[in-house]
């Protein structure tokens, strides 16, 4: 557990995750109040990363449940290992076990396949971090089921009984907002919207994650990304794209952005053809000019946009 908001900021930074005071406060409250953390934001702004870094900072296990439509209890909670159960019965017969004893043990825990939710609840030792990723992709039924698990942290398996968590896990839910979730679920959580980072923060992130990069290039990259995000693209690039791009430029041995470089490496930042076409030509030159004229250090605020 964390003792203060500052501790979270430091520990996250030690793991290479640059956070802001607002997010650190929310994470701190989530761990202190024992309430799940519900993170929303555009793709690629580092939602999943929060859970990973949280687990590392707490030096505990990260249990991940990736959601998708049709995810049901058999895949999220537990499943009996039917094949092993069948084999066990056959083996017992072969061993000559008395008829009324055959199959008596097949609902033992050794035949139980633990899925992420059960694993998080049965976990012994340090409280794990349970990451329920992309909850917006699951369906209503699963959402309702999750509501129950998250409020009591207990699971009932008919053949075994009720299993209650010794210590409830730290729960982080993430959503890309492809659909609205029920208010009931969100109300059980602490809500935080992760926005695109400011220029200063993004620069911090780039310098932390890609330490070999030259300062001039990193400023240009971040400034260029900031300009891009003001435009109306089908899919705006996230921090993940910035880092990909920075790494790509670094491995190509490039020291400074120019039109040719951007055109050839554009696929790192814009993943749709219509977006790439939109950036070509005049728009690209304008953005590049703005980026190059941006002499101020990271503290000077930007002026002007592409259009």
């Amino acid at each position: 557990m964390f003792q203060s908001i500052e501790e979270i900021e430091q520990k996250f930074a030690a793991q290479g995750y640059i956070t802001d005071r607002h997010l650190a406060t929310t994470v701190y409250l989530s761990t202190s109040l024992g309430k799940p953390l519900y993170l929303e934001g555009e793709p690629g702004v580092g939602k999943t990363e929060v859970a990973k870094v949280l687990a590392k900072s707490l030096d505990t296990e990260l249990i991940r449940l990736q959601c998708y439509e049709g995810l049901d209890t058999n895949l999220a909670l537990y499943e009996w290992n039917y094949l092993r159960q069948m084999l066990e019965v056959r083996l017992q017969e072969a061993r000559g076990v008395a008829k009324d004893k055959i199959g008596a043990n097949i609902f033992d825990e050794q035949f139980l396949l633990e899925r992420p939710l059960l694993r998080a609840i049965q976990h012994h030792g340090k409280r794990p971090v349970l990451l329920i990723d992309e909850i917006d992709r699951s369906d209503d039924e699963f959402e309702a089921f999750l509501l129950e698990v998250l409020s009591d942290f207990q699971i009932t398996i008919p053949e075994v009984g009720t299993i209650r968590a010794e210590q409830p896990p730290f729960v982080v839910l993430t959503s890309n907002r492809t659909r609205e979730m029920h208010d009931a679920l969100k109300r059980r959580c602490l809500y935080h919207w992760i926005d695109y980072p400011t220029l200063e923060k993004e620069l911090d992130i780039v310098l932390t994650k890609v330490p070999e990069i030259k300062e001039l290039l990193s400023i240009q990259v971040c400034k260029f990304m900031e300009l891009l995000r003001r435009e109306d693209f089908y899919k705006r690039p996230g921090i993940a794209e910035t880092l990909d791009w920075a790494n790509a430029l670094l491995s190509l041995g490039i020291d400074e952005l120019d039109q040719h470089v951007i055109e050839t490496t554009m696929s790192c930042i814009l993943k749709y053809r219509q977006d790439q076409e939109k950036l070509a030509g005049d728009n690209l030159q304008k953005a590049l000019a703005l980026t190059k004229n941006f002499k101020g250090g990271p503290t000077v605020s930007a002026q002007g946009s592409i259009n």
């Binding site: 406060t25 409250l29 049709g70 039917y82 069948m86 017969e93 209503d140 809500y191 919207w193």
Partner: protein, 382 residues
């Protein structure tokens, strides 16, 4: 006791009430969470208290701006001895006085768009064949045979839209999927190999249907026709919501079982003509999104929009409302009578705005096209 010297907890409750009055729903459990969080943060730090209040009370990004505004308003009034005010305050204030300006802008847009659109609309209308138009065939003038045919097509269309395959399973007599749980259970009495295979298949579930019909100008005839047919099927369809719109949206679901539904629609569209208004799809979609948010808009909803897409409202508003609808419902189908014309291209502003959010864009200019659309949907659905 002065307002300032109330216990802090009372202020939290008063603040909660203020949020509630402004339309941000806050329930007592959230206020309790906020109160509990006070023991972990330094309440003299406005920044941290703001973060805590935001995390515990807000569950939608859309509410954040208004929340920030109200937050600053409430706590400024108390003059908390404090760090500098939140930087977001400025944007919040901007949002507060915007509705008026927005409306003005909208009106101006509408007027400008008026002239241009009308010309376009006329040239477009002369373009398509008048012989086969549904519009020419009022329900009264159709032969019994045609009426029966139309009813069948619509019934089938609705049946397709109303059913969906659940991702979950139910037992089945045959199929590719084996149900191991059941196979094992069944083989228990014999203790040997499993004697009989059990199968499973996807369940069928019901969708909710929203029919959103344009009744402005020429669209009224199409909408009336479709709604009449749906009424004729009456009670067979559960979970359907029908709304008509032009400058405003009106739900006519309560009237669906009335004999004089025809009259009701006519009255509504007459009203609209009296106002000489054009179509404002954006603001009508907003009404739909707001009014139906909890009852009808879910991931099991299919929204059918019947309109020619001539929008005279704010394109930005329409875009954001379409985006919201897109996120809330499972499928959006747009039926456009103009699409029947081979030369038609969805170039008008409204249609352009809507296109990226649609699952299906289909013509409905006559019975054949409706039957075609139905056939297409049947093969593509699920």
């Amino acid at each position: 006791m002065t307002h300032q010297s109330l216990p802090f907890i009372t202020h939290i409750i008063l603040f909660g009430r203020k949020l509630h009055d402004a339309g941000i729903d806050v329930n007592p459990a959230n206020l309790i969470d906020l109160s509990r969080s006070l023991q972990y943060i330094d309440i003299a730090s406005r920044r941290d208290f703001y973060a805590a209040a935001l995390a515990t009370l807000i569950i939608n990004r859309e509410d954040m701006e208004l929340f920030t505004l109200l937050f600053n308003e409430y706590w400024d009034a108390l003059e908390m001895p404090e760090e500098p005010a939140d930087p977001e305050k400025k944007t919040g204030e901007g949002a507060a006085d915007s509705p008026d300006t927005r409306r003005q802008r909208q009106r101006a847009d509408g007027e400008n768009a008026d002239d241009g659109n009308e010309d376009d609309a006329e040239s477009e209308q002369t373009g398509y064949s008048s012989q086969e138009l549904l519009a020419q065939k009022d329900i009264d003038s159709m032969t019994d045979e045609e009426l029966e045919q139309a009813r069948k097509i619509i019934a089938e269309l609705i049946a397709i839209l109303a059913n969906r395959r659940s991702r979950r399973f139910k037992p089945a007599k045959s199929g590719a999927q084996l149900d191991f749980r059941k196979i094992f259970r069944r083989s228990m009495p014999y203790g040997e190999y499993c004697l009989k295979l059990a199968h499973r298949t996807h369940r069928l579930k019901k969708n909710k249907l929203i029919l959103f019909c344009d009744v402005s100008g020429s669209m009224e005839r199409y909408s009336r026709f479709l709604i009449q047919l749906i009424c004729a099927m009456g009670a067979k369809i559960s979970n359907i919501e029908v709304a008509v719109f032009s400058t405003r949206m009106t739900s006519i679901t309560p009237y669906l079982n009335r004999k004089d539904i025809d009259e009701v629609i006519k009255q509504m569209s007459d009203q609209v003509h009296d106002w000489a208004g054009g179509t404002n799809i954006g603001s009508c979609l907003r009404e739909l999104n707001e009014q139906q948010a909890h009852q009808m808009l879910s991931s099991h909803t299919v929204a059918v929009i019947l309109s020619d897409g001539w929008d005279q409202g704010d394109a930005g508003l329409m875009r954001s409302e379409m985006e919201q609808l897109r996120r809330r419902v499972n499928k959006i189908i747009w039926l456009n009578p103009l699409l029947g014309n081979v030369n038609y291209q969805p170039l008008c502003k409204g249609m352009q705005t809507a296109l990226p959010f649609l699952d299906y864009f289909l013509p409905v200019h006559n019975l054949e096209s409706l039957a075609e659309a139905t056939k297409l949907l049947r093969t593509l659905w699920h």
